[in-house]
């Protein structure tokens, strides 16, 4: 045992610079300014409201802008997810599960329109902010 322990190599350190998410994103031609919203006058806070009835549910809302993941928030009971800076053309992706019914509402005009009702099962949806 002692011999094998002496030969054991130290584990390689994890590469802290790698980003596992980047493989899925299209980032051509993007600059920091093209994604910035702080000074964008047309950006707005948006609430995504989840209402689970006749059973529990959980969901995750992801905000995409020009192929880049801007914000991601999860909820495990009825309530709101707030995205503080949303622009026209952004896309909100929703995924989750509900054991009863789920109602998803976004407080800004979207395509397709909300609220949308889901029956028991997987919640798979996406909305374009108009």
């Amino acid at each position: 045992m002692a011999k094998s322990a002496k030969k054991a190599k130290p584990k390689p350190k994890p590469d802290t610079t790698s980003n596992t998410k980047t493989e899925t994103m299209t980032t051509q031609g993007l600059t920091a300014n093209s994604l910035a919203t702080a000074e964008a006058p047309h950006s707005q806070p948006v609430d995504v409201t989840f209402n689970f009835t006749s059973g529990v549910g959980q969901a995750t809302a992801v905000l995409f802008r020009k192929g880049v993941l801007i914000n991601m928030q999860s909820i495990s009971k009825s309530g709101n997810v707030n995205f503080s800076e949303v622009q026209s053309g952004d896309v909100i992706s929703i995924s989750g599960v509900c054991a009863g019914k789920a109602n998803v509402a976004i407080n800004t005009p979207t395509t397709p329109v909300t609220p949308e009702q889901f029956n028991a099962g997987l919640i798979i949806a996406g909305y374009l902010v108009n």
């Binding site: 493989e23 053309g89 896309v91 054991a99 909305y127």
Partner: protein, 393 residues
């Protein structure tokens, strides 16, 4: 008598017509916990309401209504269905009450029955189970669909004119459009984004091979498979039922009962369910050897059995259930003339689903020692009151 059958037949035909019309309007059937549960499970613990006409061929017929206090409360106050309140009323949902009118051969009043039943262990209620939600969410096939949805949304956000693409994709995710009915450009986009990630590459291959892939049906199939397995968990109930005399508001019969059901083929690839069903009861009844009315006759009954639910291939609804059980009776009291202290029966129940929520169980009881064979026909209907209430929110 002919009139009664005519009314019953007309009622069934109207219900069937309503069913057919409803099916035409909704191409993708919506499955609920109630519609998928086995008839045997709904007999043991009812989620909403059940109306039963029992022992139709027996001299002692019974018109029975079973419900839960929570169903009534939720009907009056639909905010109770919101998850934050819904989970707090778990105990009330595990309580069933029953009232019934007993009728004789001429359909005249022959006594009143009432009872309560409580589920001490109910591991089948997926509507309040976080474990079940996590199981579904973390299932490999669910994760693939979620990842694909995120990738498509990310891609659509880069398109110069995303509105058309997202509307077309919405039809796909809602199950209105199959994959092969999408425009070629969107098909190519979906296949390209699926191939761009390890998380969705397998799903992309499925889309290539199966051009009529329907996303909503696939998602529903994943959920129903997992829910079907979850509904094989343990359920154990205890309860008490009493019956009054027809001419006096006094108990003629009290039954203390317990029942246990548990699926035996959990995670099996078989679409049919096999479940263990054990019942036991102590019945206190009037000793007719005594002049005055009392409850001194005590009979113990133990009935272990197996229920086999045969389900449809795609919708996973049981349409036929066969139950085989043994019955042992022990009489603690003074025996009547010719009566035996121990009795053994073999029971069989054929439960046929005639409509979505209406079951017709036909029960047989055979006593091997005497060669006696008894049979009963019941009709049971489950009402999805909560589902209707939820739609009103």
């Amino acid at each position: 008598m002919t009139g009664k059958f005519s009314v019953l037949t007309a009622g069934l035909l109207i219900c069937l017509c309503v069913q057919v019309k409803a099916q035409q309007k909704t191409p993708n059937p919506v499955f609920t916990a109630d519609s998928l549960a086995t008839g045997n499970y709904k007999d043991v613990l009812n989620s909403f309401f059940q109306f039963a006409f029992e022992r139709m061929t027996s001299p002692n017929k019974e018109l029975k209504f079973t419900g839960t206090p929570f169903a009534v409360m939720a009907k009056l106050d639909t905010t109770l269905l919101v998850d934050t309140l819904y989970t707090k009323y778990r105990a009330l949902r595990n309580l069933n009450y029953m009232v019934s009118l007993r009728l004789d051969t001429s359909f005249r009043f022959n006594g009143f029955s009432s009872g309560i039943k409580y589920a001490i262990i109910n591991k089948r209620d997926e509507t309040v189970s976080r474990v079940f939600l996590n199981t579904v969410r973390n299932h490999a096939r669910s994760k693939q669909l979620f990842a694909l949805n995120d990738l498509i949304m990310a891609k659509i956000s880069t398109m110069p004119n995303p509105a058309g693409a997202i509307m077309e994709y919405t039809g796909f995710r809602q199950g209105i459009t199959n994959f092969n009915a999408l425009s070629q450009s969107l098909q190519d986009t979906i296949l390209a984004v699926a191939a761009s990630s390890d998380a969705t590459r397998g799903l992309g291959e499925i889309l290539k091979r199966n051009s009529d892939f329907n996303l909503a049906q696939t998602a529903d199939s994943i959920y129903q498979d997992l829910r079907s397995n979850f509904n094989q968990n343990l359920l154990w109930t205890v309860g008490v039922t009493d019956t009054t005399y027809k001419d006096q508001l006094m108990f003629s019969n009290i039954v203390i009962h317990t029942e246990l059901i548990k699926g035996l083929n959990k995670f099996s690839t078989s679409k049919n369910d096999l479940e263990l069903n054990i019942r036991s009861q102590l019945q206190l009844a009037d000793d007719t050897l005594q002049l005055k009315r009392d409850l001194k006759r005590a009979v113990f009954n133990f009935e272990p059995g197996i229920n086999w639910a045969i389900k449809t291939r795609h919708t996973r609804k049981s349409y036929l259930e066969l139950k085989f059980s043994g019955g042992y009776f022990y009489n603690f009291s003074q025996l009547y003339a010719g009566e035996e202290r121990n009795r053994l029966f073999f029971n069989g129940t054929i439960r046929i689903r005639v409509m979505n929520d209406i079951w017709v169980p036909v029960e047989f009881k055979y006593e091997p020692k005497n060669g006696n064979l008894f049979g009963f026909i019941n009709v049971r209907a489950n009402f999805k009151a909560l589902a209707g209430a939820a739609r009103m929110l």
